[in-house]
């Protein structure tokens, strides 16, 4: 499935970190064809691309209350199925099955990582920027995990709300 799209030049935006209030508030749906939404999509991609190790970013992480995220897991070693770099608007998870546990981090929680159980098979619907018709994405493994992480952001949830036990949170290590 080709999810490529033309976006205007985006602006790199600062990324909010917990405990910023906006990160715990659900984001409302927006029009996929609204120029403001397309501008937001461009800003998300621009911000993701300049952030080392970042494979996805949700709108509320850059201070916008809008149900939009961008993703690109192309280079990640845990990726199996992947759909390149894309922005999804008003995403909705249809099915999520076969949970596995893995450790994940987040630009908005820069000092911690956490063990989180998520589905490894996923079907999600949503809109591409500028499109009137919804698309359905079927994916697995790391892309499935990353999409669930981003949809959680849009629902006002951080991975901190999904950790699998009392000792599932870890200080984030920086490797030189």
């Amino acid at each position: 499935m080709d999810l490529s799209f033309e976006l205007p030049q985006g602006r790199v935006r600062p990324v909010l970190t917990a405990p910023a209030k906006l990160l715990s508030e659900p984001c409302p749906e927006v029009s996929p064809t609204d120029p403001a939404t397309i501008g937001l999509a461009a800003d998300l991609v621009a911000t993701m691309l300049v952030s080392p190790g970042c494979v996805g970013l949700a709108a509320n992480q850059i201070g916008e209350r809008a149900r939009v995220f961008c993703l690109d897991v192309t280079e990640h070693p845990k990726t199996k199925t992947q759909h390149g770099r894309f922005v999804l608007i008003n995403p909705s998870i249809v099915t999520a099955t076969r949970k596995t546990q893995s450790r994940e981090g987040c630009m908005s929680v820069p000092d911690f990582t956490g063990d989180v159980r998520r589905a490894s098979r996923l079907v999600v619907t949503g809109y591409l920027p500028g499109e009137h018709e919804p698309i359905t994405i079927t994916t697995d493994a790391f892309e499935a995990r990353a999409i669930q992480h981003e949809v959680d952001h849009l629902d006002g949830l951080l991975f901190l709300d999904r950790t699998s036990g009392a000792h599932a949170l870890h200080p984030r290590k920086t490797y030189l």
């Binding site: 709300d161 950790t163 000792h167």
Partner: protein, 134 residues
């Protein structure tokens, strides 16, 4: 075993025949900057327990979060079997595993957790622990 605002804290439950002897052996610590308390644990009544729950809380740090959170869980007979806390910058994170009596309406507890989160201006949730039985 944890650090509470920089102070080392540890609780151990041990099966010891002679508590007086243990207290005597530990008495030399009275001269150290340590507080050591040895108390007998009463025989607990056996209560049927429901499935374990995960309690998580995160938000801006401030005194009283642990007290109010654990008081709420205790109000419903919750037994905290494991807990850890982390503080980095202004972000405070607490994770705990809690067991409630089998007849506890955990959805009601979860509602009260939501209310407490609003009062404390933090994010908190209670949900069943996911277990894989192999």
């Amino acid at each position: 075993m944890t650090l509470l605002r920089g102070h080392f804290a540890m609780t151990l439950i041990a099966d010891i025949a002679n508590i007086a002897a243990l207290k005597s052996r530990l008495s030399h610590l009275d001269d150290e900057p340590l507080s050591v308390l040895v108390v007998p644990v009463p025989e607990a009544e056996r209560t049927a327990l429901g499935p374990p729950q995960i309690f998580t809380l995160h938000g801006s740090d401030r005194p009283g979060i642990v007290q109010q959170a654990t008081a709420l869980l205790a109000e419903f007979g919750g037994n905290i079997t494991d807990i850890s806390t982390r503080l980095r910058g202004s972000l405070y994170v607490l994770g705990a595993e809690v067991e409630f009596p089998a007849d506890t309406d955990t959805s009601l507890v979860a509602q009260r957790v939501d209310q407490l989160a609003d009062e404390l201006d933090v994010v908190a949730s209670l949900r069943p622990a996911e277990e894989d039985v192999l």
